[in-house]
Each structure stands twice: as C-alpha cells, then as structure tokens.
Symmetry: C3
Subunit: 398 residues, 3 copies
C-alpha cells in the first residue's frame, strides 16, 4: 500500500478526538479534531476502495435505517456505507411497523439494536422534532447498553434532521477540500449560500443551516442570502456568527442574491421553505388540519412567486470571482427548462457543473462509513492499519 | 476460547436430536432433546457473539421472510439471525408479489428457494390457517428437494402462527433459565399466564398457547387465567394438561387473575382475543363481511370492558412469591397511563421490570439462528466446533 | 475440484467474447460467443454451488434492482445472484423515490451507483419504453464512469423489457441444453412458441419475442403460432427470420396451435396481449385515460374469449413428436381448473411437467450471476479459476 495511505493513518492517530460512542448529530457540537478525523477516515475509505482493498471491519451485524421522508441518494449512500463496513441493511419502515415519539422510542430503539452497529435516521419533516427524536434514540441505546441489554451501543447518525444535514455538508466539505487542494486553502474563500426559486414549497432548512453551521468554522467568508421572510432558524444564524468570529472568517446575511454572488469562490443556490411556514406546517400537520395545509401551500407558492428572479443565471455567475465560482448543489436541482419551467438554476450553468455536482455527491457513502467507524472503534487508526495490512482485495482481479 | 464454550458443545453432541431437515413449527411436536439442543445452540451463539467470534456458517445464500402481519421485533430478530449465520434477507412482500393458500404455494415456495437456507413465516391472522400454511410450505420444499429442484431444503421457521409462537417462547424459556439458573431450577416453580385488559381487540392467541404448551414440559406449575369466554384453543389446553402430568408439573385453568398470581414465581399478563371471536373474525375476513367485522369489534371491545380490572397492579404483584415474581411480556405492553389510558400493567410494575423484559427479548435472534443451524446441519456440534476453532473476530479490535 | 469444472473454464477461455463493460439487454445484439460464454459461466456457477464452493468475487458492494412491475421469481433470482457474487441488494422503489424517464435518469443512475456493481431492471409495462429506459441508464453510467464519478461501471441487466426477457430465455436455453444433452443437439429440433388462452389480459410480449429471438439462432425449427391479431412486434419477427436463415434453422408463423404442435419436440404455450392492444394501452396509460383503459380491457377480454380453445390439452400434446414434447413455461401458468376456470394448459399436462418447469426456472439465478460476472471482469475464466483454486466451502460441513 502507498505511503500516502499510511500518512493519512498517522495523521488520524495524532488527532485528539472523542467520537468513540458519541453520536454525530450536529456538526457544531463536534470539535475541530472530530471533523478532521471524519474527513480523514472518509478519505482513507475512499482511497482504499479505489485501491481495491476490502474495508470491512465487521463480519456480520445490522445497519438500521429509519427514513421518515422519501430519499434516494441518502438511502443508497447509507446502504453503500453499510456494505463497505460489512453490515447488512434493515429498514425500519414505519408503514410496516410502529416507531413513535414518546415512550415507545426507548423500547423500539432497543428491540432493533441487539446485533446493530449503526442506526441512520432521516427525520426532517417537522420543525423541532427530527433532532429531538435522534437524541432520544441516542439516549435509549446508551441506556440499553449500560444495562447490558445491548452488547454494543450502535452509532446514531443524522441522515438529515430539522436542524442539520451533516452527512451532506461533510461530503460537501470533502468536495471543497479536493477542489481547492486542502482545508487550509478554504481560508478566506467566499461561499454564497443563497435561497433560489423553486416551483415547489416546503423544502427543508437543513442544507442551508448545515452549510452556514459548518463552513463558518473553516475561516471562510460565508454569505447567506434570502428574500425577506425566508430566514433560517435564528439560533443557527447565531452559531454561524460566533463560529465565523472564532475561526477568523466572516458571516453576513443579505437580502440580495447578487450581493452574495459578488466575488464568490463558491455558490450554493437552493430553495428552502421560510422558517415561519415550516412552523405553521408542523402545527397543521400535527393537528391534521388539511384545509389550513392547502391554504398554506397556496399562500406559500404565491409568496415564492414574487422571487422568481432568484435564479442562478449566467449573469449572476459572471459576477463571481473571475466568473468561475464553483457551483454546488445537494441534488436534485430544479433546472430551468429541464426539470421545471423555471427553477433554481439556468440549464447552461447546471450543464457546466453537472459532473462537479456528481463528484460532490460521491463522497457521502464514505462520510457515513467514517462516522460509523469512528463511533464504533476507540482507535480507528489502529483498525484502519489492520485493514491495510490485511490487504484483502475488494474484488478478484481478472 | 473458554472451557465453558467447549463444555456446551460437548453437551450438544451428547443429545439425541432429530432436528436436521425437520421444521420447527410447534414446540409440542419437538422432543425434549430437540428443545434442549435449541437452547444450547442459542446460548452458544450468544456467547460467541459476546466473545467477538464470527459465527457465520454460510458464505452466501438467502434467508427469506414472509410476514403476513406487521412486525418490528420479529423482523429484526430474523434479520439479525440471518446476518449472524452469513445469509442475506429477502422479504416476500405480498403487496409486491403473490403467495396464496392453495395450489400456488408449492410453486412459489420452490421459486424463492433455489439458494435459500431458511424461510421464516409469520402468519397469525386467521385461525386454522397459519400453521396449515407453514406445513404446506414445508411439504413443498421437501418435495422440491427430493426432486432435485432445490439443492438444499430450506428450514421453515414459525415466526408466529395461529397456534404457537416458538421463537418467542423459547427466548422466554432462555430468559427463565438465565434468571433462575438452570432448566432444572424451574421445576416446581409457578408461572401465571394470565389474560389482561387492553383497549385493543383481536390480539393473537399464540403467546398464551405457546407458553402453556412449552412451560408444562419443564415440571412447572402452570396456571392459565382468563375471564369467562376468553379460552384458548381447547386442544392446546389438552396438550398442556398431558404434558404437565408427564413432566411432574401441573396445569390449572382459572377464572381469577388473583388466584393465578397467588404465590407465583413468574407472571405473564397479556391480552388476547377470545377464541370464538377469532373464529368469527376469520370467517368475516374471509367473506369480506366488513359490516359484521365492525359489529364484532364493537361487541368485543364492550366485552373486554367488563374486565378492566384484569390489570397487573402492585396489589396483585404483592400476592406473588415474596411479592417478587418475575414479570414477563413479549412486548410491546399496554402500560396504564403510558401507552394507553388503561392497559395490561401498571406503570410502576412495568418500570421495575422494563430492563428485564428487554433482556427477555434479546435472546430471540439467537433462538432463530439456532433453529436454522440445527435444521441445516446434521452435526451442529461439529459445525460449532469449527466456528470456535476458526476463531475469526466478529469485528476488528481497535 | 473435478476435471469437468476445469474443462468448462478452459472452454470459456477460448471464446472470443466482448461482454466486459457491455450490457446484456437483448440476446440478438450478442454474438454467439457471448451467448455461449453466458451459458458456460452460468453452468460453472451452478456446478460450484452444488460442489459447496463459495463463488463470491466481491467482498462488498451493491446490486441494485429496479422493478417497475410486480415480480417474485425474478426478484428472488436477482437477490440470489447478488448473494452468490458477494453483493448486497438495494431496491430502488419508485414509490419511495423518484426515477423517471427523461433528464433525471442520468442523475439517478449515477447517484445509486457509487459502490454498485450491477443494476437489474424490469420495465415491461409500456411498449417502446422499457428498452429505451435501460439503454439510457446504460449510457448514463458509462458517462459517469468515463468522467471519474463512478469508480466502476455497473453492469445493466435486462430483467424483462418490452422487447426481450434474456434472463428468462437464457435460463430456458440452459434447460433445453441439459434436457437434450447439448446446444448442438437442439439443431433441427422443432419448438412451438404458441399463444394460449388466459382469463387475464395485457401480459407482456417479452417471452414469445425473446424465445423466437433466441431459439432461431440455434438451428432450431421455430414455429410461432397465434390467433389473428395477436402478432408480436414485426421487427422481432424479422430478426427471427433472418437468424433462422443464418443458423440453418427455420422460422414460421402460423395461425394454428395444432400446426405448431405437430411433430414438435418442445412446446411453449403462453398467453400474451396483442401488439396493437399494448400500443393503445401504452397510449391510454400515458394519458391517464381511465375510461378508455376500461373499455380496452373489456374489448380485449372479449377478443380473448374467441380463442378459448387455444389450450395446451392432452389431445394437442399427443400430436407432438412421439406425444412426448417437452412442455415449457416461464411460470406461473394459468392451469385449467386449478388456478383459473379455463387457462393456458390442462391440469394433467401441467402435472406431468410441473417438476420440469421448476427445473427450467432454477437456472435463472446463475444466468443473472453469469451476466454480471462477464460484464464486470475482463477475464472471467481467470476469475473463476481463482474461485476454484481458493476452494472456500460455501457452507461449513457438519
């Protein structure tokens, strides 16, 4: 195996992390060393995959997924991560079984975990619920393990909640690291996280919140742009502000897409629902108030309609640094004239960056695997060294 | 590996079993040696798991699940067992495909079994159907194997039918064995299997039937209590009576929860539907008679309402041996004031035994794996000795 | 390992194939060497399975299935193939996610393929769509791999499209090869692919098209029989005609079941929908024209009713060669008096060949595995030699 691989393992060994048995729910709860370790392990796993090295660290066991919202790419990323580590995926489908907030969470969390190494949860529908639910599952399996019910404490991984989307944003960061050469190279770079028009309504806030909650730690100049009334959760703007100040970067909120794009090195234009709409939607959904929900949708689409010009056009792209900012998106994007009549991004812009967005997405399986591995093993560097020394080919050569 | 493990393997080798290629559908069809072998292998697999030993005996192949009713814990137990043995789970979802009683069973059973080592079936909806269906699948794959269609004959495992729930009751027995020290220690112990009030209706009879059908073989004093009209299948009461007499234990049926609890070492209070209701429900469901079904539900809930005092309270628990009987439940329990307004068990009682019920549940994956292994290998002791001597770590150490 | 196995591997090595990274969508696009290689690898994998040799060539990775129509046997065959090669199945369920024709195919195809070795697709609902869709997915992952997005280019396998059903027909051919002794022995044999009556409507054309599209390459006398108006796609009749002429066989189309059965060595009686009905159905389904769909069904069932005498009876069977033609069916068959009042085949005929049809079906998992292996490895013979020399037992022996 190459020197480069061993050098990454050495770097990992030098980091002072505390991820073992600690869940990865919000990036802003993690130390800088934890974030670096996650990126390092993800990179190692990706390099080992490409070098045809079997990365399984388990011979058996389950990886449980709980998706409370539709998902293709995250679902497949989770399954890929599970397979790369040697685990079998079991989906807890709530149409087939019952898992609820409240008293039954503890029981179900334990009942599905006897041979389980990781539970990945996506729960981004209701404001104030997803994160709480994950924290409850996390607490339940910790208790179950402490009481000897569970032979191991499964890692709980946030596959998107109402606050953050760490597997997405860490994969995004890995993409930036590769595109710009290093994490250090991101210092002083300007990233525009901006709202964009979409013909749909009610998209989660987790991506914009996750991006400003992560990129402000890298010494970047983070510009968050949205029309009046489309603000994200205020406490996350506060976190972003504090972090920017601590990292030597900056954080600004603006009501102009053009201002955010001006001189930007990176742009991330994406639709999301206004915070107050999500609050009302949560309330109506809970109450089963279908009439109010329908009215809200109409009202909200009308509100969106005022901001049809919030589109990532060639004109806006021309205002970025040398007209060559890196365009990012978590996919699928609403592409004007392609996937919808009018959307988040002009077709010509998207076309130019399509392959780049695919590369951005490809890191997610390794990020999820890295989070799992760091949670489940105290000395991840030692484990990865064993994997490299074992050197089993991932597939036969022929 | 420890002496203890080899001692268990030696004990297994000494048993005169006939489980190889014989299905595990009803505990009362199995010899005492078969039951002991199942418990021994389950214990071995659990110990090996805890000792970080890879227990896979297959490198590939399918474990097929057929669930004709919702299920979380059994579904996950089955998947865990499959993974521990090296198999991949495939669910035969009847909404996606067609498997029916009658002529097509034979064909489908063969079509899904070409590389299949085990088929786990849950079918407890209709009285007189679940067991028949399993027996039909069992016969079909036996024929397919005899005719050279199937390279192996998959094990058929009853994951709950209209008569018995052997993976549950064997896991329960394993829990009793661990709690009281040995199977021998259960001799002369009193277990109260009692009906309890629940705000729902139509719960299967398989748990109470399975418990009296199994525990009467251990020389225990089994007391079955239910209100007038809530009797189980008469032939299973007969089996219990015969077995109790043969094992030196006893079996009584009483109409009083207090009488059953009196001096009991173990209590298992749980709701179920009256046998005659299940019969009528089966008839109406088959006929698509929705009006009659609705009337039956109303009638049945009203009937249940007369027995709201059938609750496992602190007062009743105080009447058990030293006020300290072991409380058991297959979960989820209907807990008064927690999961429902009024239910099977008082919250304070459940709270005290919650962890115990989780421990009770944790054995199920190993019981399912044991049933599979004993069915698929003629000399399970020899196979397990190979597993131990191979000594592959289940997960890397780091 | 036996000489026979090595001899098959040697034969494989001598074939001049070009299946590596080439998808298996239509048999008539494949060279004779490619077809032979597929049969050889399928046979090798089946022999190795029976000899208890682990055939995994991957230690991890995904096998993605996309079923746009219900399926039991193909679904389980695909899962079995995946397991035999060491892959984990992930189903892209379109009720849980979104994959559409058009612009989003490229993106989704890449997003599900980062660690994916094979994508199996069943899409036979709409004429003119299934094959196009598969070709689009194929092109998308080729591009993704060329651009470095995908570390490998997954094999795309046609699990049934509007034109062909190659995993079925290749398994059928393997059955013929085993039944008659060799591919050469099929030369000059007469096969009757005939329409048969069924009480349902709208069955795909892929089996009859696939059978005449494949068997005409073997020097067989292929007789395709159907009532007026039940023709298959004209271009596939053309292909069959050309191929028969090239292979030294023959291809005739007749309007009489009896004529086709006359002197036949093999009969394959099976219902399908008229081509023009499928065209109209496609149009109505696309347009959401439910009234027209209902009318079409009524009309079509009435049309079918005129041909109730198209049944594979004992009388017809008596007219085949020595009254002993091999009866084939892709299953499930509509059996008169068993699965329906009147159907494709008389109960006594089916009974006599039931086991034969099960044997016919059992090859499919190995055919799918063979297609995957040949696509993913440049030197399949070298890979299989490694598998044999490794000699890991598929299951422990005991």
């Amino acid at each position: 195996m190459s020197e480069a691989i061993y050098s990454l393992i050495d770097q990992l060994g030098e980091l002072d992390t505390n991820l073992h048995t600690q869940d990865f729910l919000l990036t802003w709860e993690q130390s800088e060393a934890n974030l670096k370790a996650t990126l390092l392990v993800a990179e190692l796993l990706e390099e080992l995959y490409l070098a045809n090295i079997d990365t399984r660290v388990f011979t058996s066991g389950l990886a449980v997924s709980i998706f409370r919202d539709n998902s293709t790419r995250t679902r497949f990323s989770f399954a890929s991560a599970a397979s790369a580590l040697g685990l079998s995926v079991m989906d807890l489908d709530e149409t087939k079984s019952q898992i609820a907030h409240g008293e039954t969470v503890r029981e179900t969390a334990n009942m599905i975990s006897f041979l389980t190494q990781v539970i990945g949860i996506r729960d981004d529908m209701f404001l104030g619920e997803g994160h709480e639910y994950m924290a409850e599952v996390s607490k339940s399996v910790r208790q179950g393990h402490a009481e000897g019910v569970l032979p191991q404490r499964p890692a709980i991984i946030n596959l998107q909640c109402d606050r953050d989307h760490p597997t997405q944003t860490m994969a995004d960061l890995m993409h930036l690291q590769k595109t710009f050469g290093s994490l250090e190279a991101l210092r002083g770079k300007k990233i525009a996280m901006t709202w964009a028009f979409s013909p749909s309504y009610g998209k989660p806030l987790s991506v914009p919140q996750g991006i400003v909650g992560l990129m402000t730690r890298l010494g970047m100049d983070v510009s968050l742009a949205y029309p009046e009334g489309y603000g994200i959760m205020p406490e996350i703007e506060d976190i972003a502000r504090r972090q920017a100040s601590a990292s030597g970067g900056s954080f600004e909120v603006t009501g102009s897409m053009a201002e955010a794009f001006d001189g930007a090195d990176i742009v991330y234009p994406k639709s999301w629902a206004p915070y107050d709409v999500m609050q009302r939607r949560t309330e109506y959904l809970r109450g089963g108030q279908n009439d109010q929900l329908a009215t809200l949708e109409t009202e909200c689409l009308a509100r969106n309609d005022q901001y049809r010009n919030w589109e990532c056009t060639e004109e806006l792209m021309a205002q970025t640094r040398d007209g060559k900012a890196l365009y990012m998106h978590c996919l699928p994007a609403d592409i004007t004239g392609v996937s919808c009549e009018q959307g988040e991004v002009a077709a010509s812009v998207f076309d130019r960056y399509r392959t780049a967005t695919y590369h951005e997405a490809k890191h997610k399986p390794y990020v999820i695997a890295a989070m799992t591995l760091l949670n489940r093993f105290e000395q991840a560097d030692r484990v990865l060294r064993q994997v490299v020394e074992r050197g089993t080919p991932r597939q036969l050569v022929g």
